[in-house]
């Protein structure tokens, strides 16, 4: 019987041919934790009797969720991570380095056929590189840090076939929001997802990361794509390692196949307070916004900043809007500095904050006031997500966020591309 991508990777990593429903203990290639989850993992590591990491060069801790620290209590947790990294010899990415997922992508530690776990739900982002990457909690993280292993129930796979190409002004963010709206927040629970079709192949790697990143918002364990020449070209910029991609067999068995025509899509938004509350942007056009956020592990890469800059070039952010930009990493920050993208954004009125997660998770860097409305490129719009339960969050593409920043209201970005 043919295998899906995830069945192939879990077969390789567990040393026997597996199919959906099997329980496996598999070897992990890389393990990552961030500052919201690592401190608990360090406690669990000690309670489990852990003394050494299975392989220090395959473990990374990232300080990104509250970075730089806004309070003394957070500072103490950061210090706990730094001390642990020094003691065990694992990699540590500190304040200003960037969002954990972008750092994993850029550091060449993840590639096709790999199995990666991260104590952050958006670890599924690396599925765009044909890796089985999934989010776990702190105790699982500690177990993997010690043993280099993790147990899994091999999930069945839901396949999306995205026909056609996205029209101008419609981006990968619009596509994934639409797919989540279609299958809902638990449409892929306990499942892996494969994204395929012409529309996916036509996307840049940056665009593909956005899609894989949000697989967890439909409940998926992983959001996988096949490796192609774009994947290998992208990887060659960051690492010289050789990889063995895992392609699905033609007779692989899928739980469900969903086909969509990407060419017919228009810009989308997720309305408060659910990621699957998705409508065409035109249905909410004209709603005033108080804050616009560009960044996060979903849409903080150079291509995203450049898309926004193209709309903001020669224009000003509306006086009623705070426009907050958080590049996804130091590398993205530098590239955007060098090519003039950041100059354009800052000149237009952007407030650029340290690469990291702050605005998305409500820790600092842009908590909205009561009754305010935010449009953001992030991946979650739950009530209180940005730190205030009395604010509203709309999720949209970088172009839609930039358009709203200029006009002060939710606006179809295609009006700026004419």
């Amino acid at each position: 019987m043919g295998q899906t991508i995830i069945e192939k990777i879990l077969s390789r990593k567990s040393g026997r041919k597996v199919q959906a429903g099997d329980i496996v203990v598999a070897k992990v290639d890389f393990v990552m934790g961030q500052d919201g989850t690592s401190p608990l993992a360090i406690n669990a590591f000690r309670e489990m009797g852990g003394r050494a990491l299975f392989n220090p060069s395959r473990v990374a801790l990232v300080i990104d969720h509250s970075a730089p620290s806004p309070t003394e209590s957070v500072s103490n947790l950061h210090k706990l991570m730094r001390d642990f990294a020094r003691e065990t010899g694992c990699r540590l990415y500190d304040v200003g380095d960037g969002v954990c997922h972008q750092l994993m992508l850029e550091s060449g530690v993840v590639g096709p056929g790999f199995l990666v776990i991260g104590a952050d739900s958006h670890t599924c982002t690396y599925g765009a590189l044909n890796a089985f990457a999934t989010g776990v909690g702190s105790t699982d993280l500690a177990a993997a840090m010690i043993s280099g292993q993790m147990w899994f129930k091999v999930p069945p796979t839901l396949k999306f076939v995205c026909h056609g190409e996205l029209p101008p002004g419609v981006y990968s963010k619009d596509l994934i929001l639409h797919l989540i709206g279609r299958v809902t927040a638990d449409g892929a629970t306990y499942m892996a997802v494969e994204f395929t079709g012409e529309a996916i192949r036509a996307l840049s790697m940056e665009g593909r990361f956005t899609i894989a990143n949000m697989a967890v918002e439909m409940g998926a364990k992983a959001g996988l794509m096949e490796a192609d020449e774009k994947t290998m070209g992208w990887l060659a910029r960051y690492t010289r390692r050789e990889f063995a991609p895992a392609a699905p067999d033609p007779d692989a068995v899928y739980e469900r196949v969903v086909e969509i025509d990407a060419a017919a899509l228009e810009p989308q938004v997720a309305r408060p307070h659910r990621v699957d509350n998705v409508v065409p942007l035109s249905e909410v056009g004209g709603l005033p916004v108080d804050e616009a956020v560009l960044g996060t592990c979903t849409n903080g890469r150079l291509e995203d900043l450049a898309t926004a800059a193209a709309i903001l070039r020669g224009r000003r952010v509306a006086p009623s809007v705070r426009f907050i930009v958080a590049p996804a990493s130091r590398r993205v920050y530098l590239e955007a500095l060098r090519d003039g993208t950041l100059e354009t954004l800052v000149q237009a009125g952007a407030a650029v904050v340290t690469p990291g997660c702050g605005p998305c998770v409500g820790t600092h860097n842009g908590v909205p006031a009561d009754g305010e409305r935010v449009i953001s490129t992030a991946n979650r719009n739950f009530k209180g997500r940005m730190g205030n339960r009395n604010a509203e969050i709309y999720l949209a593409s970088p172009a839609s966020v930039a358009a709203a920043a200029v006009t002060g209201e939710i606006t179809d970005p295609r009006e700026f591309l004419k």
């Binding site: 329980i23 203990v25 500052d35 919201g36 989850t37 401190p39 608990l40 406690n43 669990a44 309670e47 489990m48 009797g49 969720h65 509250s66 309070t71 209590s73 957070v74 947790l77 991260g118 104590a119 952050d120 739900s121 670890t123 989010g135 776990v136 909690g137 702190s138 105790t139 699982d140 500690a142 177990a143 010690i146 043993s147 292993q149 147990w151 129930k153 927040a185 638990d186 629970t189 306990y190 409940g219 364990k221 659910r274 998770v361 409500g362 820790t363 908590v367 979650r380 739950f382 009530k383 209180g384 997500r385 730190g387 339960r389």
Partner: protein, 166 residues
């Protein structure tokens, strides 16, 4: 394992930000402090309403969203003995078992707020004493039952020095 308590009812898709907000979870490892804020964005007084042993009862996709283990820990430290839901998001489900919080999957549509419930995990039955009904519960996968019976993944690792799931 037999558990007894009153039902506190919530809806579908209760995400981990609602269970414990990001603005608190990054600040401390003191779970009894985090427990005071459990479900705060949905019901600011929820913590005060809990009697030790009570249940959180919810609809589909409980625990969706982030991987924060503070979510099951805050629930546990607030005195809740188990979460009963129509279905669970997978990371929360794993985290709950790993930290020793029982999670029970069954049809919750006929359970009303305040109902007196009793759960027998081994027998796979949930009794609703208020309504004199019995509901079958979906058994935990054997792997998870083993980890739960060991007292969570930390205790499992202390016992075996690694994964020992066969």
């Amino acid at each position: 394992m037999r558990l007894k308590g009153k039902a506190h009812k919530f809806g579908d898709d209760i995400n981990t930000d609602y269970i414990i907000s990001g603005k608190y979870k990054f600040k401390t490892l003191d779970m009894s402090e985090l427990a005071r804020h459990v479900m705060e964005d949905l019901d600011p007084d929820f913590y005060k309403k809990i009697r030790p042993g009570d249940f959180i009862v919810a609809g589909r996709n409980f625990g969706c969203g982030s991987s924060r283990e503070q979510a099951p820990l805050a629930i546990k430290h607030a005195g809740i003995s188990a979460v009963i839901a129509g279905s669970f998001a997978r990371i929360f489900y794993r985290n709950a078992i790993n930290t020793g919080l029982p999670v029970i999957e069954c049809d919750t549509s006929a359970i009303e707020p305040g109902d007196e419930l009793e759960v027998d995990l081994e027998a796979g039955v949930l009794g609703n004493h208020t309504r004199n009904t019995e509901i079958r519960i979906t058994p935990l996968p054997p792997v998870m039952l083993k980890i739960l019976n060991d007292g969570g993944l930390v205790a499992h690792f202390r016992k075996y020095g690694g994964f020992h799931l066969d």
